[in-house]
Symmetry: C2
Subunit: 150 residues, 2 copies
Amino acid sequence: MSTPEPLYTVDGYVAGDSLGFLVGTVRSRLINALDVELQPLGLTSAQWLVLTRAADRPGCTATELCRCMNTDTGSMTRMIDRLEEKGFVRRSRSQKDRRAVCLEITEAGRALYPLIIPRVVAVLNERVKSLSREELDLLTGLLKRIVADE
Amino acid sequence: MSTPEPLYTVDGYVAGDSLGFLVGTVRSRLINALDVELQPLGLTSAQWLVLTRAADRPGCTATELCRCMNTDTGSMTRMIDRLEEKGFVRRSRSQKDRRAVCLEITEAGRALYPLIIPRVVAVLNERVKSLSREELDLLTGLLKRIVADE
DNA sequence: TGCTTTTTGCTGCCTAAGCAGCTATATTCC
DNA sequence: GGAATATAGCTGCTTAGGCAGCAAAAAGCA
């Protein structure tokens, strides 16, 4: 089996055409727009990402969150500090494993939930507004393959 | 003219399938891999991004860099501090406009250049290795359209 | 010319991620 | 049981980005 030609080459490399530049730009546009949408709710997009995952896993520990978000425990500690300070999340020591911290969304956090999703959806739609459904499905499928690899 | 159906909907929203999640994941994989590749050269991927743009524009000012990178002047000041401290970049006051700081790549910075591009290319190829050329072109084209919008 | 506005870069303050080192607790193995 | 090892979370250090406020310099205008 022959090795296929590499897709990127040193000679043909153009920074602005690279996958790295493009996904970075798309991401920062999405995050900036989402931060604007979420500001009135007293939440940043990074905090929302953590809150939503915590909401999906009632009673989960900080380390579980770290694993599913591919993040560091030190970073997570401080993120939970901020969310707790804002009253959206509650910490409690696990009874079974007293090293572990269990997380729960507070009422205030849960109340936020239905307000946020429409704003997330609106930001996404605004960004992909020039694509057809077929094109978005294609784009999503290709990105998923890249993510799934290894 | 009728408004097309929105592509994302509140009911159908699944975080892990959203464009935001996917581009964020691809980006962080690329950056992590690039940081590993660049570490032996004493450079981070964020520093490389600035260095490469500065190299493309000899004698450019900090503000010009900020504009083309869509970044803040405060952030850029400190980034240049780090690059200068490592000896990859040199600051000098402009003669024409004494507010402005002109940037120049040092010999050490320029020497790094040919060492980095192959590593960037390798990281990109590793990440898209399961795609055909046609698929990568398609993906790149769709992302460019999203970026170009507004 | 002199006054106002704009631009440029710097600084302080905040959020945020990653890494290394630490303590307390759990688990494993002898 | 008791020592070695692993795990959970916290803290300090660094890099990094955004925002607001600052002073110096430049540009615009009466």
